[in-house]
Amino acid sequence: MNKLKSIFTYGILSIAAIVSLFPFAWMLISMTNKSSDISQGRLLPGSNLLENLRNLFESYNVGSALFNSFFIAIVATVLCLVVSSLAGYGFEIYRSKGKDIVFNILLLSMMIPFAALMVPLFRLFGDVSQVFPAFGIDTLYAVILPYVSTAFFIFFFRQNTKMFTKDLIEAGRIDGLSEIGIFFRIYMPSMKNTFAAAGIISFMNNWNNFLWPLVILQSPDVQTIPLLISNLGSGYSPDFGIIYTAIVIGTIPTALIFFFLQKYFVEGMTGSVKG
C-alpha cells in the first residue's frame, strides 16, 4: 500500500516537473537550432549555436543592453532595500497616532495596476526632464526611481520585522547605539534572510520589467534586455534562433542569483530570524 502511494506521489511529481521544465529545456535546445527548424518544432539540439550567437552579437548591441539591465536592477535593488527596510522598520518599531491609517493608504496603492499609473508617471517625468534632464525621460534613472520605494516591499519588511526580537533594540540603546546605528548594526545583520528574499524579488522584478522601461526609454543605447528581446520579434520573418539565444542570455543572471541565494530566500519567505 505504501509503495503504491509513493509510486503515485512520484508519478504526479514527475509529471509536474516535466511540465515546468519542458519549456526551459526547449528554450535551451532552440538556442542551438536554425530558425526554420524551430518553427517546425524540432526537439533535438542542432549545431547552429555559434551562428546564432554571432548573428545576435553582430546585429544587436547586447553588451550595452546587458550593462543597462544590470545597472538598473542592481541600483534599484540596493536603493529599494535600504529605503523600504527603513520604512518597514519604522512602521513596526515606532509609535505614532496616524501610523495605521498611513499604512493602510500605502497598502491601497498596491491595488492600482501599473497601467493606470503609467500616463501620469510619464507626464511627471516629462516635467522632470525640463528641470533635470539627467533624471528625465530616456535615462536609466527614470526607470529606477519609481521602484525605489514600493508598497509591497514596505509591507514585506514590516511583516518580517514583527518577528524581530525587540529586546535587541533595548540592548542596543542601553549600550549607547544611536537609533540609526541600531538599524544598521543590529537589525540588518539579524534580518539577513529577509533582505536576501527581498533582494531576489526586487532584482528579478527590475530585471524583467518591461512596460515602464518600454515607454520611458527611447534611444537604443539605453535599451534593456527585455526591450531588446521584444525588438527581435519585430520583423515579418523573425529569426527565432536569435530570439531564443537572447532569451537564454536574459535568463541566466536571474537564474544564477536565485540559485546562489536560494537558501536565504526560502528562509526569508518562511520568516525565520537568526537572533
Binding site: 510619464f122 507626464r123 526632464s129 534632464p133 515607454v215 527611447q218 519585430s234 515579418y236
Partner: protein
C-alpha cells in the same frame, strides 16, 4: 554594518556622477531649436527600416547634411509608446517620424490631431493609390505619407495543383465558395491541406471583407456596421466552412503559420504581398509557386483584390518637423528612383503611382516559375476597394473572433452578427 553603508554610498555616488555626465548626451527632442538629428520609429529591420535607410542614403546625396536616427521597435511597442506619450500630453522623447499601420492610423489621428504635423503642402495624395487616402487623412488634412501596400494574392503550389489535375487558371478570379470546392478535391487527391488558418487571427476576415468594399464600421469610421452586414456574415461563413470542411490546417501563431507552407504541408497561402520573402525562404520549393488574385466573397460588387496590413509614415508636431517633412516629401513622396530600389533591394512595393512602372516591375522571378509577380501585384493594387478603416478595426475584429467560436459551436449566423454589433456598440461608443 559598514559594508552596507559603503555600498549605499557607492550607489549614490555612481548615480550622481553618471547623471551629471549623461546630461548633455540627450537633447535630440528637447524643446527649442532644431535638433541635430531626426529620429524615426519603425519595425522590421529587413523591410521598413531597410527602406528608411535607403531613403536616407539617397536624400543625403541630394540634400547633403542630414542625419536620421532610426530606432527599431516592435509594432505593438510603438503603439504602446505613442499612446502613453501622446495621452500624457508631453511630447518629450517622441520621435520626429513614426510608422503606423493603416488599420490603426485613424485612432491616433482622431484622438490626437494636434500631435501630428499637417503634410498637405508637402505631398499630393492623388499621386498615391486611392485606397491609401482614407486611412492617412483626417478632417480634410493629409497627415500620412503612404508607404507600402498590403495588396493580397493567392500563393499556389503548382506541383500539388498538377497532381490533383488543376491549373492555376482554375483558381484565378474565383469566389471563396469555389475555392472551398476545389480545395476539398485537392485535399482528397493529394492529402495536403488547402490553407493554413489560425482561428484567432483576424487577417483573413479583414481581407475577405475588403473584397466587398465594406468594413466593420460605416464610412464615418465610427458607426458600427456588423448586424446585417452581408460581407461580414459571408466572411464568417467562409472562415467557418474552411475550418469545418477539413481543408484547413490550423496554426496557432506566426511561426507555425510560416512553417505550414515552408514545410510543404499546404497548397495555398492567401495573404499580403509582404509574405513573399517568407515564402521564398524555402529555396527547395523554387519554381513550384505562382500567385493569382485573391478569391472574392459571394457578394454583389465584390472584386478579386484586397489589402491586408500596409502602413504609412507620419510626422509629429515637434521641433524638427519641417526637416522631417522635407525628408519624407523628397523621398517617399516623390522619388521614383528610390521606389525602384525598394522593389529590387528589399522587395517592398510602394503605393506611389508614378513609380509603379520601370525596370523593377519587369523582372521575371525564377522562384515563381518566371512570373512577374511585382507587376501583377501592382495591377491588383489598382483594384483594391477603398474603405475607411476607422477608429476601431482591432477592437471590432477581436469581438468577431470571439463570436466566431460561438458560431462554430452552433449559434445562428444572424444572432452572431447581432451580438457582435451589440458588444461593439457597448464597448466602442
Amino acid at each position: 554594518m559598514k559594508k552596507w553603508k559603503i555600498l549605499f554610498a557607492a550607489v549614490l555616488l555612481t548615480m550622481v556622477l553618471s547623471a551629471c555626465s549623461g546630461g548633455s548626451a540627450d537633447g535630440a527632442s528637447d524643446d527649442g531649436g532644431d535638433p541635430d538629428a531626426i529620429t524615426a520609429w519603425a519595425w522590421d529591420p529587413l523591410f521598413n527600416i531597410a527602406a528608411l535607410e535607403l531613403a536616407e542614403e539617397q536624400y543625403v546625396q541630394e540634400a547633403g547634411d542630414f542625419q536620421l536616427d532610426i530606432i527599431d521597435n516592435a509594432q505593438k511597442d510603438i503603439v504602446q509608446k505613442l499612446n502613453t506619450g501622446l495621452s500624457s500630453g508631453t511630447m518629450n522623447g517622441m520621435p520626429n517620424i513614426v510608422l503606423i499601420e493603416d488599420y490603426r492610423a485613424q485612432s491616433f489621428l482622431q484622438a490626437y490631431p494636434d500631435a501630428f504635423y499637417d503634410m498637405s503642402e508637402h505631398v499630393n495624395i492623388d499621386d498615391f493609390a486611392e485606397y491609401k487616402k482614407a486611412p492617412t487623412s483626417f478632417d480634410g488634412k493629409q497627415y500620412g505619407i503612404p508607404f507600402d501596400t498590403g495588396v493580397t494574392g493567392l500563393y499556389l503550389r503548382t506541383d500539388y495543383l498538377e497532381e490533383a489535375g488543376y491549373t492555376p487558371e482554375d483558381l484565378t478570379n474565383i469566389t471563396w465558395d469555389e475555392y472551398i470546392e476545389i480545395g476539398k478535391d485537392i485535399t482528397e487527391k493529394t492529402g495536403k491541406k488547402m490553407i493554413s488558418l489560425n482561428p484567432n487571427d483576424p487577417d483573413h476576415l479583414r481581407h475577405m471583407i475588403q473584397t466587398a468594399g465594406t468594413w466593420f464600421t460605416d464610412e464615418d469610421g465610427e458607426t458600427v456596421n456588423m448586424a446585417g452586414n452581408e460581407a461580414v456574415g459571408e466572411a464568417l461563413r467562409v472562415f467557418k466552412t474552411m475550418l469545418d470542411e477539413d481543408i484547413a490546417h490550423t496554426n496557432s501563431d506566426w511561426s507555425s503559420r510560416i512553417a505550414a507552407f515552408n514545410s510543404g504541408d499546404i497548397v495555398s497561402v492567401a495573404t499580403g504581398n509582404w509574405m513573399t520573402p517568407s515564402v521564398k525562404a524555402e529555396e527547395s520549393q523554387s519554381g513550384n509557386w505562382t500567385v493569382v488574385p485573391i478569391p472574392r466573397l459571394s457578394v454583389d460588387g465584390a472584386v478579386n483584390a484586397s489589402n491586408v496590413g500596409g502602413s504609412s509614415f507620419y510626422v509629429l508636431n515637434i521641433p524638427g518637423k519641417e526637416q522631417a517633412a522635407e525628408f519624407l516629401a523628397s523621398t517617399f513622396g516623390s522619388d521614383t528612383a528610390l521606389y525602384q530600389d525598394l522593389v529590387t533591394e528589399i522587395g517592398a512595393i510602394g503605393t506611389y503611382l508614378p513609380a509603379l512602372e520601370g525596370e523593377a516591375f519587369n523582372q521575371e522571378d525564377e522562384f515563381f516559375a518566371g512570373q512577374n509577380i511585382n507587376a501583377d501585384f501592382v495591377k491588383w493594387m489598382m483594384e483594391i476597394p477603398n474603405v475607411n478603416y476607422g477608429m476601431h478595426t482591432y477592437a471590432s475584429t477581436d469581438i468577431l473572433i470571439g463570436e466566431l467560436q460561438n458560431y462554430r459551436s452552433g449559434k445562428a449566423l444572424e444572432e452572431v452578427l447581432e451580438d457582435a454589433q451589440k458588444q461593439a456598440e457597448a464597448q466602442l461608443n
